[in-house]
């Protein structure tokens, strides 16, 4: 629930949003929609965090934090909800899937400087190569510009994760550099590729794709923290 009191003019005025268990849909594209994280989603994180394929391809600090820092505690949800340096959204397919297909987030958000990092994790192998990750990255980038006031988004990719590199390029990201031998997978060192996109380039992608965000009206409702 969020309410507002105007103490000068009208006394109490309010705008209640009734809690809903399914989260709030923040953005909707052709293939996927993005919604806020909810406490039941921690069960999904619990499944995903132990997937060796995800660990190798993404090496998500978000999932690692859930497992190793928070020991898979329910308190992780409140920590994420109150974290002013990241926005975590759940990726749901518009058709054909009964469960979320992944997570997309902006993290290390620097609001005053206007930049943040992007991480997209498509967890369901059957959902890979269907454009879900591309669209999720695109939608959250629009969200970053519209809602957070970002002027730049960055992403890092392991050199063997060609699929992610292609997804970023399809969204207008440019490779800006290479962190040489920056990632160790337990057997050898790999390069990490750095990608970036600026606000006007994001807007060019938006004009090209004709997807306008954020939604005119949010779907679902906000919920009180647990």
């Amino acid at each position: 629930m969020i309410t507002l009191e105007d103490q000068t003019a009208h006394g109490m005025t309010g705008a209640d949003e009734t809690p809903a268990p399914g989260g709030v849909v923040i953005s909707r594209g052709i293939r996927v929609r993005l919604r806020t994280l909810t406490p039941p989603d921690l069960d999904l994180l619990n499944e995903w965090v132990d997937d060796p394929f995800l660990e190798r391809m993404v090496g998500s600090e978000f999932l690692q934090s859930f497992k190793h820092v928070w020991d898979k505690s329910p308190a992780f949800y409140d920590a994420v909800l109150n974290d002013p340096t990241q926005v975590v959204l759940v990726v749901e397919a518009n058709q054909g899937w009964s469960k979320p297909v992944g997570i997309v987030r902006l993290f290390n958000i620097h609001l005053l400087e206007g930049y943040a990092f992007l991480e997209t994790i498509i967890t369901d192998q059957k959902a890979v190569r269907r454009g879900f990750g591309v669209e999720a990255g695109k939608l959250i980038s629009y969200y970053g510009v519209d809602v957070l006031g970002l002027r730049r988004v960055e992403a890092k990719v392991y050199e063997y994760n060609v699929l992610s590199m292609n997804s970023l390029r399809r969204n207008g990201f440019q490779q800006e550099g290479v962190l040489r031998k920056a990632w160790y997978d337990g057997e050898r060192y790999w390069d990490v590729f750095v990608f970036g996109i600026l606000k006007d380039e994001i807007e060019s992608v938006r004009r090209r794709d004709k997807v306008y965000l954020p939604l005119d009206h949010v779907e679902g409702n906000g919920r009180e923290p647990a």
Binding site: L4, P84, L111, V147
Partner: protein, 105 residues
């Protein structure tokens, strides 16, 4: 000027006061920005009471920054936040606290 004259006083523009309750997060940010925007449009000097805020994420901080910048563009514009512990921690953690005027009264 008469050096013996008494203190002078003038009435300044009134300070509007808003009180926000609940979470200022991604799920509510659109409404928060709308509410803040509506009041910033009509009030150049605003106190935003955040004592009853229960959660604040990057979208909530961004909404406050947006209001701060809108007020700052106006002549004699002033936005003062009255934060609770949750809000103070979030502003520190997001490294935006220096952008705001805070009142802890």
């Amino acid at each position: 000027m008469n050096a013996m004259a008494g203190p002078q006083a003038e009435t300044l523009e009134t300070l509007g006061r808003l009180r926000l309750h609940g979470p200022l997060t991604a799920g509510t940010s659109r409404r928060v920005r709308q509410l803040l925007g509506d009041h910033v449009d009509h009030q150049a000097r605003l106190l935003v009471d955040l004592q009853a805020v229960t959660a604040l994420d990057a979208t909530g901080v961004a909404a406050l920054l947006q209001a701060q910048r809108a007020v700052g563009r106006r002549e004699h514009g002033l936005l003062v936040l009255r934060p609770n512990r949750i809000v103070s921690d979030a502003l520190k953690h997001s490294r935006t606290i220096s952008a705001f005027v805070l009142w802890n009264g």
